[in-house]
């Protein structure tokens, strides 16, 4: 099963790179959804020894929430917003991809220095989780569009989830389901916030929000 886990983790890294290079918001949301489906598959291949209830709940929960519900919520926010693409991010798309390769190098290096207690399902697990976290952080920092920042937040959470599933297999189910619920509420609220920002200011460019005065 190691090679299947590896394959999923590699695909996860590649979706991360795709997010770094995308300017269309719709495509970003779809890619984040794809990442969610990959994450849903991860417990199925990595957690063979888990009780089936836990595996099924985690896989089903994250696939449905991250693969269907979040994209649906974000697409609704996108329909309200009049923008279709990130025009001028703080860091350009080619530079973002380059930064991504640096992040990958850093996470491989860090992953090599973080030996896990017990047996991780794949030696790629920690680097992939770290890369996904870095990637999400980078998206939040480097993009101006509020929707892209929400996607960045989702990716960040995805990274933590990968870490939890692969590296901390004895984490209680309740904690992971709680996190999933938290993220759901966060995305729900963010979708509403984006809608309100859009209605109040006619754009969802967070850069311009910093010059607001009361």
């Amino acid at each position: 099963m190691t090679s299947l886990t590896d394959l999923l983790l590699v695909l996860l890294v590649l979706t991360g790179f795709r997010l770094l290079g995308l300017s269309r918001l719709g495509a970003s949301i779809r890619t984040a959804g794809m990442q969610g489906v990959l994450l849903g598959l991860l417990p199925l291949v990595a957690g063979e020894s888990w009780p089936p209830l836990r595996m099924g709940l985690l896989a089903g929960g994250s696939m449905v929430l991250k693969g269907l519900v979040f994209p649906w919520l974000l697409f609704r926010a996108l329909r309200e917003a009049e923008v279709r693409r990130e025009i001028e991010p703080f860091v350009g798309f080619n530079l973002s991809l380059l930064a991504g390769t640096l992040c990958l190098g850093a996470s491989l290096w860090l992953g090599g220095g973080l030996p896990l207690p017990g047996s991780a399902p794949s030696s790629l697990a920690v680097p992939a989780a770290l890369f996904t976290i870095f990637c999400g952080l980078f998206l939040i920092v480097a993009r101006k569009n509020a929707l892209n920042q929400v996607v960045g937040y989702l990716v960040l959470e995805n990274g933590i989830y990968v870490f939890g599933v692969t590296a901390v297999p004895h984490q209680p189910l309740l904690v992971e389901l709680g996190v999933l619920l938290d993220v759901f509420v966060a995305v729900f609220v963010m979708g509403i916030t984006v809608f309100h920002i859009q209605r109040a200011f006619d754009h969802i460019d967070t850069d311009q929000l910093s010059s607001l005065k009361d």
């Binding site: 890294v13 290079g21 991809l97 990958l104 030696s123 790629l124």
Partner: protein, 308 residues
């Protein structure tokens, strides 16, 4: 016999390379609902062009005349280092993949210089774009080859193309499947960019503002144009045989059977180019760097995965 085997790929490529252009043209014609030119049309074009005289503008210098010759010579030299299937290349030394990338770069440099030498603003624009594309394609090519080399070296190969590519087999796909898949995609991107194919460049366009490679050869005629066309066909073969060596790892006992299978793979690569060209629009020029950076990133991930 060994001499024969060593020269076989070079001779085979020299004879069959223009056929790839014919296959691409036929595939595109089939998609458009036409019958298309006969497969041997590129050979006829080459013969016709070689029979013509050359006309040189008085404003050009020796650089313009040297362009096609140096370009063809560089690509033929690169061909000498590339194996087909398990047929060895004519020459090999550790690290010759860098030499191959450098030779392709030299060919591009001279076609760009020749285009600049004409003094035409359109050709200068084409040269500038080609230089940009080439500069971005080269790191992707080298990184992808390095990843392939590392994947093969685990199976015990040496650091030359003749050592790396034949060492890749079905077993390496089982051991390094994701790596090799990413290397393949990266190389396909480089392949399309280096050969001036859609989605990076459209060989069929005849609008100066959008042409990249085509505009650079506008002022060449007769034997010079034949050299350029033949060089383009050989370049298609050189990069194609690297892709085929990775994607069609048929390794039977006989080098000749392997080479025949690989030659069949080359035809598939040509059909693939035709399909891409018929079904995709070319990218906007500002998206081209991103396409190539994407290919380079794929290669980096592949390399990181195999070196881990």
């Amino acid at each position: 016999m060994e001499i024969l085997e060593r020269l076989a790929h070079t001779v085979l490529a020299a004879l069959l390379a223009p056929l790839l252009l014919g296959v691409i043209a036929r595939t595109k014609a089939a998609f458009a609902g036409r019958r298309g030119p006969p497969l041997v049309q590129p050979y006829r074009d080459l013969r016709r062009l070689l029979g013509k005289g050359a006309v040189y503008s008085t404003t050009t210098s020796w650089v313009f005349r040297a362009g096609p010759t140096v370009g063809l010579a560089a690509i033929v030299t690169a061909l000498l280092f590339v194996p087909l299937g398990t047929l060895p290349a004519a020459f090999a030394f550790p690290g010759d993949l860098v030499a191959v990338a450098g030779l392709l770069g030299l060919a591009r440099l001279f076609s760009g210089r020749a285009a600049l030498d004409t003094g035409s603003s359109f050709e200068g624009m084409g040269a500038s774009r080609e230089a940009q594309i080439g500069a971005l394609a080269e790191p992707a090519l080298l990184l992808a080859l390095a990843a392939a080399a590392s994947a093969a070296a685990r199976g015990g190969g040496d650091w030359s193309l003749s050592g790396i590519l034949p060492a890749l087999s079905g077993a390496s796909w089982i051991a390094h499947g994701p790596t090799l898949a990413m290397v393949t995609f990266a190389l396909l991107g480089v392949f399309l960019a280096e050969n001036a194919r859609v989605p990076v460049d459209d060989p069929a366009t005849h609008l100066e503002l959008t042409m990249v490679h085509e505009v650079m050869v506008l002022d060449h005629g007769g034997p010079d144009l034949a050299f350029i066309l033949y060089g383009a066909a050989l370049k298609l073969w050189v990069l194609g045989s690297v892709i085929v060596a990775i994607t069609v790892p048929v390794r039977t006992g006989s080098a000749w059977v392997n080479a025949a299978v690989a030659a069949g793979g080359m035809v598939l690569v040509a059909v693939f180019v035709g399909i891409v060209e018929s079904s995709m629009a070319r990218l906007r020029l500002i998206r081209v760097p991103q396409f190539l950076v994407g290919a380079a990133v794929l290669a980096v991930v592949a390399l990181a995965l195999v070196l881990r």
